[in-house]
């Protein structure tokens, strides 16, 4: 046997906490690197000047007042889902079912809009839409929570699978409510009467959504940081055993928190269906249930930081889309750019949490 141990060229070790400015410097560098790589890729493909490309990214979000509103609206919905997932994540309950919870919320909203329009006053219809969507989302979120609390099932898989059930459920109702016959789509619900459409504020379609989500954001911050529930969530997240030791009913906290998480996701579905889209499709969530996971993680589960992370993701994806439009590229190109950027941003978290140790000169050992 050799006595000599092999020293790897690089080995990875966990870092102790680093000061916030170093962490943010690393994130900043990652972002710059991402933009540089995006520019290189775009220049190779389009042959345009890279500054033009950066300008186009900017134009995608700030090119006109309409674009600014679309940016805000997209941030609002994404943020709402991220806020919904956060209490569960803080509890180390990996709720990957945001998509499904939003979809059933949207389905409940659409059901109210289609079945009750014209039969009850509009204000009552909207109240019912809100209640139904929250209830539907809460039920969808609670099912995996009960299984987790009672039988310790794997919540990651369970919530994920619930997404597919929700998609099929929505697909079924689309066929049931399709107009015209056989078209496989519902179209805009109550286009003539606008029954159940959330009202415009100050003449702006998206104002109400933005304000509601801003309120939810502050409320979630307070709830997690200052309420007893918020404290219990953190303790359960840190260690279930500690939580039990101090007398917290873990099962109850899991179910209660998922009820909240699912309810808020369902509400986000209502904001989409009742507030802006006014229709129901199986793809209406546009993957936000998953993107929100990243928003929440990158912000370290802090609701206020999530405003920034959701802004960043929406800003970049809209910018990437604008590049594809302006330079006549396929929308897949936008996906490539978004992928590059996310790769760098997520990668930077690795360098914040871990340190690379390079092998010292061999000579010293000899």
């Amino acid at each position: 046997m050799h006595e000599k141990t092999h020293n790897p060229l690089i080995h990875i070790s966990k870092r102790s906490a680093m000061p916030w400015y170093t962490a943010w410097a690393i994130r900043g560098i990652a972002l710059v690197a991402a933009l540089v790589v995006c520019a290189i890729v775009s220049v190779i493909v389009t042959g345009e000047d890279p500054f033009q490309i950066y300008a186009t990214i900017f134009e995608g979000s700030f090119g006109s007042s309409r674009k600014v509103w679309m940016l805000l609206q997209n941030i609002a919905i994404l943020l709402c889902v991220a806020l919904a997932l956060t209490p569960a994540f803080k509890m180390r309950f990996w709720n990957l079912g945001g998509e499904g919870q939003m979809l059933v919320g949207g389905l409940a909203t659409a059901a109210c809009m289609i079945l009750l329009a014209g039969k009850i006053p509009n204000w009552l219809l909207i109240v019912l839409m809100v209640a139904a969507s929250i209830l539907a989302g809460a039920i969808w979120g609670m099912i995996p929570a009960i299984f987790k609390a009672k039988w310790n099932t794997n919540e990651t898989l369970f919530t994920l699978m619930m997404n597919y059930v929700a998609t099929q459920l929505v697909a079924y109702f689309i066929i049931l409510w399709e107009v015209p016959k056989g078209a496989g789509q519902i179209g805009i619900i109550n286009q003539k009467t606008e029954a159940g459409w959330l009202p415009m504020l100050f003449g702006q379609k998206y104002m109400l959504n933005v304000l509601i989500v801003a309120l939810i954001c502050v409320a979630m911050y307070v709830y997690l940081k200052y309420s007893k529930h918020g404290y219990e969530i953190s303790v359960v997240g840190e260690s279930e055993r500690t939580a039990r030791y101090v007398g917290i009913k873990v099962g109850k906290v899991i179910i209660r928190t998922m009820l909240l998480s699912g309810a808020l996701c369902g509400f986000a579905g209502m904001l989409l269906v009742g507030g802006t889209e006014h229709t129901l499709t199986t793809t209406i969530t546009a993957g936000r249930g998953f993107t929100a996971v990243m928003v929440s993680w990158l912000a370290k589960f802090n609701p206020i930081w999530m405003v920034l992370t959701s802004f960043l993701i929406v800003f970049l994806s809209r910018g990437a889309g604008q590049i594809a439009t302006n330079f006549g590229l396929s929308p897949s190109f936008a996906d490539i750019l978004t992928g590059v950027i996310l790769f760098f941003i997520i990668g930077s978290e690795f360098f914040i949490n871990y340190k690379l140790n390079f092998r010292k000169h061999e000579a010293k050992e000899g």
């Binding site: 916030w20 400015y21 943010w24 994130r27 900043g28 972002l31 710059v32 933009l35 000047d49 500054f51 033009q52 950066y54 300008a55 186009t56 990214i57 900017f58 134009e59 090119g63 006109s64 309409r66 674009k67 679309m70 066929i175 409510w177 107009v179 015209p180 016959k181 056989g182 078209a183 496989g184 789509q185 179209g187 805009i188 286009q191 802006t276 889209e277 006014h278 229709t279 499709t281 793809t283 209406i284 206020i304 930081w305 920034l308 960043l312 800003f315 910018g319 594809a324 439009t325 302006n326 006549g328 396929s330 929308p331 897949s332």
Partner: protein, 406 residues
């Protein structure tokens, strides 16, 4: 406080970086807004998918052809889903100075109507939609083409091929069963496969057809699966109304002849492609650009025909097509144009064993799908006359639907 600072810092980083070359693009948007005059037409196109979809590619080619021919500026937005994104895309095109906005997919309709209501000075044109004649908006228009005539002619090519197989002893007359991959059980698809089948049966009277649906206008995997299912079921020829290359590629792999749609797919099936029918949208685009340039009103419903050059067949693949196919198609085409032949002649098909005397179709779209217009007169079903989009939704004898879940 520290957190706020960090937040600001990050924001500055992001915005500062991308703001560098901002001026150039703002200028271009301004020029397009200021140079817009009555006879300066700018067209915005909204497509559901990208050029991978044969359906959207057909529109893109026509847009390019028409706009370059007339020398008008145009902007294209690709991959716009059938949702709020369509409304936003339409409004953005208006912001960019377009005075015609065109959308190509059926599900875009409601969002186009929404945009049309908000921008009365811009013309919104929509292919395959059904609502223009009931919306009463002067700036919202539907368009389609009498593609059932093109399908019928393509059906004749299919019939010639099947007849050749029977003559060569490859199959018996009882085995003359063909397959069709459809998207939805929607009138446009039903009208399409029925006219195709009637064309086939005008050559091989004993032929039957099986239809399967994918529940999507574009889904490579489902279309491949559907075509394979039909081939395994004994179908000797396949056609499709769905927009990926799923069915043509499957046919090529299995060596089963294919009659295509939206344009020639000979590249995907050099040994099996026979012919393809398609709508040529260039005449419509030229028409609407002309109308706006001259300040004339655009028809609420515009139906392109063989005569306008809107309904076309691709070049026939002589290597696969039966002998005499071109002549048979020409003869039928002349008869269709002369009005001596009608695709949906009630003497050529039965529904539930009965010849139809009368049928009220759902021309005015509503949630309950109620029939509202008598469409049978002078011995034939008057397709695409009361509105441009097809409304033939009868299940005629000889066609078996394998599934109707969509």
């Amino acid at each position: 406080m520290k957190k706020v600072l960090a937040l600001l810092l990050a924001l500055v980083l992001v915005i500062g970086l991308v703001a560098c070359g901002e001026t150039a693009t703002t200028e271009t948007t301004e020029t397009t807004e200021t140079t817009e005059t009555a006879n300066n037409v700018k067209v915005g196109f909204i497509y559901l998918h990208d050029e991978q979809s044969t359906y959207d590619l057909n529109f893109m080619n026509a847009a390019k052809e028409a706009c370059e021919k007339l020398g008008v500026e145009y902007v294209q937005k690709v991959g716009i889903p059938e949702g709020q994104e369509c409304y936003e895309a339409a409004m953005e095109l208006v912001d960019e100075g377009c005075n015609i906005v065109f959308a190509d997919s059926f599900g875009h309709e409601d969002y186009m109507i929404q945009a049309a209501k908000e921008c009365p000075d811009v013309q919104f044109c929509h292919a395959t939609g059904t609502k223009a004649h009931t919306e009463e908006l002067s700036n919202y228009h539907n368009a389609f083409a009498s593609i059932y005539e093109g399908r019928y002619l393509a059906g004749i090519a299919a019939g010639m091929k099947v007849a050749e197989m029977i003559d060569n002893g490859e199959i018996t007359a009882e085995q003359a069963k063909i397959g069709y991959v459809g998207a939805y059980t929607y009138a446009e698809v039903i009208s399409g496969y029925t006219s195709f089948f009637l064309g086939l049966r005008s050559v091989v009277p004993e032929a039957t057809m099986e239809v399967t649906f994918t529940g999507s206008w574009y889904d490579m995997a489902l279309e491949t699966e559907g075509a394979q299912k039909l081939i395994d079921d004994g179908c000797v020829l396949i056609s499709q109304h769905a927009d990926s290359l799923g069915a043509p590629s499957t046919c090529e792999a299995a060596g089963v002849p294919n009659v295509s749609y939206n344009g020639s797919t000979i590249a995907a099936g050099p040994n099996t492609f026979i012919v393809s029918s398609r709508i040529n949208w260039a005449p419509y685009f030229e028409y609407i650009i002309g109308c706006v340039a001259n300040g004339e009103a655009i028809d609420t419903d515009w139906t392109g025909t063989l005569a306008t050059g809107s309904v076309e067949l691709s070049e026939i693949n002589e290597a696969v097509a039966a002998e005499g196919t071109a002549e048979a198609i020409e003869a039928a085409k002349a008869a269709l144009e002369a009005g001596t032949l009608h695709v949906f002649d009630t003497a050529t098909f039965t529904v539930g064993g009965e010849t139809l005397e009368s049928y009220t179709a759902d021309v005015d779209t509503d949630e309950a799908y109620t029939g509202d217009t008598e469409v049978i007169a002078d011995g034939y079903f008057h397709e695409s006359e009361f509105r441009s989009a097809p409304y033939f939704d009868l299940q005629i004898d000889g066609i078996t639907l394998l599934d109707t879940k969509f």
